[in-house]
Symmetry: C2
Subunit: 250 residues, 2 copies
């Protein structure tokens, strides 16, 4: 299919590569910033543009991979007339696109995407469309770039987005606070990486609710007190330690 990619960030870049690898033809990359547009366009062997009115009207798919606020702007500024218009956001209704085209929907990658990383294997795609026909078209398109495709309406997608925030953004924040703690205490954060991996990978075999361990679930108040004492100079992590420990103990 003939595709225009709107955006040049992590999602645009990773999905753009998948789309090209799948054999589709990327016509253009749009970005407000021409340098960014050019960088991705060069990689995808197509034309960079930085003005809405320069976007070709003849593409079959317009993939909007922008920040949430920018999707609103795009849907105001630009009407492709025909073609399928998709956004890639977890927490934005598909209907934001209803004035853009008669065929619109969502292709939300439930994955943490970084443009520096070239070889993503598992990118689950959650899809939605404004009509059954449109959804069928989006499904066919989605399967060309991922083997994991699931239909998800606005509500279902928002719920998964929330869960994704909890298991990814929040765990990453725990990693980040711990990395700062280790750095300041001169202990090696690297030593923790095998444990972090194991904790994530064991979900393939275990329900997380049956493998909870640690001082909180053992009600090991002595260790908890030692830990809180060590965290006296780390109020953010200390507060989170208390709250999650109480939550585990409930």
């Amino acid at each position: 299919m003939k595709i225009v990619i709107i955006g040049s960030g992590n999602v645009a870049t990773v999905l753009g590569r998948k789309i090209k690898t799948a054999g589709h033809r990327v016509l253009q990359v749009y970005s407000r910033n021409l340098v960014n547009a050019k960088q991705l366009a060069d990689e995808l062997d197509c034309t960079p543009v930085n003005e809405w009115q320069m976007i070709y009207p003849e593409a079959e798919v317009y993939l909007i991979a922008l920040r949430d606020e920018a999707i609103f702007e795009a849907s105001d500024m630009w009407i492709p007339q025909k073609g399928l218009v998709l956004h890639t956001a977890g927490a934005v209704s598909k209907d934001i696109l209803k004035n853009c085209s008669g065929n619109y929907g969502v292709l939300y990658p439930l994955q943490s995407l970084r443009k520096e990383k070239k070889n993503y294997r598992h990118i689950p795609l959650l899809i939605d469309g404004n009509t059954a026909d449109t959804l069928a078209l989006i499904e066919d398109f989605a399967y060309t770039i991922s083997s994991s495709v699931q239909k998800a309406n606005d509500e279902y997608r928002l719920k998964l987005h929330l869960a994704a925030v909890c298991v990814s953004n929040f765990t990453n924040h725990l990693y980040a606070l711990s990395a700062t703690y280790c750095e300041k205490e001169n202990i090696s954060f690297n030593l923790l990486k095998p444990l972090i991996e194991e904790t994530a990978m064991r979900l393939q075999d275990y329900d997380p609710r049956i493998v909870q361990t640690g001082p909180a679930i053992r009600n090991d108040q002595e260790t908890i007190e030692k830990h809180l004492h060590l965290l006296q100079n780390y109020p953010q992590l200390q507060h989170i330690y208390k709250i999650i420990t109480m939550s585990i103990q409930q």
Copy 2:
């Protein structure tokens, strides 16, 4: 070396297997519960015992892999006279063992160990000993069962134990609360697993502090409000959501 393993739980079992595979001779497995002792002893091809006075005095290493409180009990109840006595706990001082033997120390596996899992590849071992000679002996022993061995005194080990709680027990609790949320909302927790894995695995390439994403760091208050509304029937997760969101925004 000739080893006695004291304990029959996850740590005793996984380290027992590593010790046997490394070519050491396990003489006995002690557990208060003879059925548990026998199960591990059968696997390690040795004798089960459930009374302290039945433990052979001629072993070279006594590995105490018990819950923290039980280490205290063991160190009170039992004096092996000679031989190296090790415990495996992150938050317990080595000196709890000072009445057990002239040679004692710690072999703390910084990993989440489950007896059902047979093939652990990365088990970093943190070691400590009461004298330089003892520590050298423990180091030699540790390297026979792991390629990742690091010396860590009580204070260093406790700090790493604290960080381990944050990156493993706490992240697992986030997985657990999210699994319950998904179950009750009829959404698929399985769809989140590739994201969870990626979030952990990308630490190989990125400092977690530079890859923080999500509505909190974007100050996307609209999405945060939507999420908090969805969590109104999940007060534990809603409270943690608020606390971690505020922490990310700081």
